[in-house]
């Protein structure tokens, strides 16, 4: 059981990390090429704007799944700080909310994707790509979040951590503008290099 969970966790982590990395680098290169070519040549990288926008959309939702793994979703945890007794029940509520969100994304997202799939005119505004590709990201990410959250809920209850989920604390919080999220409060040494 633990083994299977670890394997799933790791596989999802790889998908998240590599797609995020690729997407960000593609956006960075496309936007930079547009700036440079616009001033120096007659070439119009007219589609770079669209690439950047789709990357922002993609990284936000794929990153949200990764943020669950790293437990760096931004939340306000004043209450359990003041009343540690409430920690456990609130964690359960919180997990249930994420599961409900995942379900929403899978259900509403799939419905919407199918609707857009049926519409031949729903294409992106410059590259003319079918728009349902992008809508489909939402139910997929919803599924990933669901698996992640179930693994985490199990971790919390069985009190074990799979290796991959304990990324170095604070790693994702280096430039985090978040309020008192657990990841921010708990990380021990923010200057660790």
């Amino acid at each position: 059981m633990k083994k299977i969970m670890r394997a799933i966790d790791k596989a999802l982590g790889q998908v998240e990390d590599w797609t995020l990395f690729t997407a960000v680098i593609v956006a960075l290169l496309a936007a930079m090429a547009n700036i440079v070519l616009r001033k120096t040549t007659d070439i119009s990288f007219y589609w770079s704007d669209e690439v950047v926008r789709k990357v922002i959309f993609f990284t936000t939702f794929m990153g949200a799944s990764a943020a669950i793994r790293r437990r760096s979703m931004i939340r306000i945890d004043a209450v359990p700080q003041l009343l540690p007794l409430l920690q456990k029940p609130l964690t359960v509520i919180s997990h249930l909310t994420v599961i409900a969100f995942s379900a929403c994304m899978m259900w509403l997202g799939t419905t919407m994707t199918l609707m857009v799939y049926d519409d031949p005119f729903a294409r992106t505004s410059t590259l003319d790509i079918p728009e349902w590709y992008f809508y489909a990201v939402l139910p997929v990410v919803g599924g990933m979040m669901l698996i992640r959250t179930i693994i985490q809920a199990l971790e919390d209850w069985m009190n074990f951590r799979s290796d991959d989920s304990s990324s170095p604390s604070g790693e994702s919080s280096v430039a985090d503008d978040s309020p008192a999220s657990p990841s921010v409060i708990n990380f021990k040494n923010p200057v660790q290099k």
């Binding site: 616009r38 119009s44 007219y46 704007d49 669209e50 609707m115 519409d119 005119f121 294409r123 505004s125």
Partner: protein, 322 residues
């Protein structure tokens, strides 16, 4: 700076209405083709004895155009004065008005709308998406606002134009062999000011009202297309409206849209005159350059003819060229 929506509060209390028609537009109500929303609201209220309230929300209050088109499909928004550029995303046929030198003058627009057969095909084209196109309003004729004089096609080659974000516009500019940038509208003022772009593909009315002429002091009258808002309505919502109210709404839209197109032409001329007093130079494009633009756009007519229906496109072009 006054709040542009404040002066446009209804003079009646809409809370007693039996039905509400939520109508969206992205632009500024000072433009006649947009302000028509308020006149539709008032006329419908009066003629329906306060039973139907047209809740008009201009200035992108309900979101960007692609966003509102989706809300229109699902019925969260009931109607939309959609720019013809965005409307092409609802049905290819609606994009016919965006092709260069097809519906390029106020007169041709009237003739197109006046032709029962041709316009009906246009109106019915988005029904597949559960939407009908009922009418059209205008915001002027497209040309190039630039910060250096563009007197010929050769001059235009040195300009980096900002164009609207739509496949047909990209296609047109590529075939014209001009430099262009696709950029969101809110970024335009800064980009124009700092020189990231030095030309703008738009109408004199919009350029003057939104202050673009403060920076770009030249306007080349390319006159290749009319800037239009296509009035789209969610068909399911329309069918659920009581028959008498439906008739009132559609009648008022037709009457007010026709009036607003006349007003738009007057506004187009007034705004040009006003811009001239501020020192903006208006430059006509020579007939030979115009011919070259049409020639170079040949692949555009072909490619979009396939999507719109080559027969239909040819019929419209022939009829309007008569």
């Amino acid at each position: 700076q006054d709040d542009p929506t404040a002066a446009w509060q209804p003079s009646f209390d809409p809370s007693t209405a039996e039905h509400t028609y939520l109508l969206s537009n992205i632009s500024h109500p000072a433009i006649e083709g947009v302000g028509v929303g308020y006149r539709i609201r008032d006329a419908v209220w009066e003629r329906s004895d306060g039973r139907l309230y047209v809740d008009f929300r201009p200035l992108a209050q309900l979101g960007g155009e692609r966003d509102v088109i989706s809300k229109l499909r699902m019925g969260a928004v009931h109607g939309m004065l959609s720019s013809s550029v965005a409307a092409a995303n609802v049905a290819d046929t609606l994009g016919i008005v965006n092709l260069p030198y097809v519906v390029d003058t106020f007169d041709k627009l009237e003739r197109f709308i006046g032709n029962e057969e041709l316009f009906e095909e246009f109106r019915q084209s988005p029904r597949r998406s559960g939407i009908v196109a009922v009418d059209i309003t205008s915001y002027g004729t497209y040309g190039w606002a630039t910060n250096r004089p563009v007197r010929s096609l050769e001059d235009a080659r040195g300009v980096n134009f900002r164009i609207a974000e739509a496949p047909v516009n990209v296609d047109i500019y590529r075939n014209w062999g001009l430099r262009f940038t696709v950029m969101p509208w809110p970024d335009v003022p800064q980009a124009l000011q700092t020189g990231v772009i030095n030309g703008l593909d738009h109408t004199p009315t919009v350029c003057n009202i939104t202050g673009k002429f403060d920076v770009a002091n030249y306007f080349t009258e390319v006159n290749y297309a009319q800037g239009l808002f296509v009035h789209l309505i969610n068909e399911r919502w329309l069918n659920r409206l009581p028959a008498d109210l439906r008739e009132i709404l559609l009648d008022v839209i037709a009457e007010e849209s026709a009036k607003s197109r006349e007003l738009a032409q007057i506004q187009h001329e007034e705004q040009i005159a006003d811009a001239k007093t501020k020192g903006v130079e208006f430059i006509p494009l020579s007939d030979s350059d115009r011919e070259r633009l049409i020639e170079m756009a040949e692949p555009v007519y072909e490619r979009w003819g396939d999507r719109i229906g080559a027969d239909y496109l040819q019929k419209v072009r022939d009829y309007l060229e008569e």
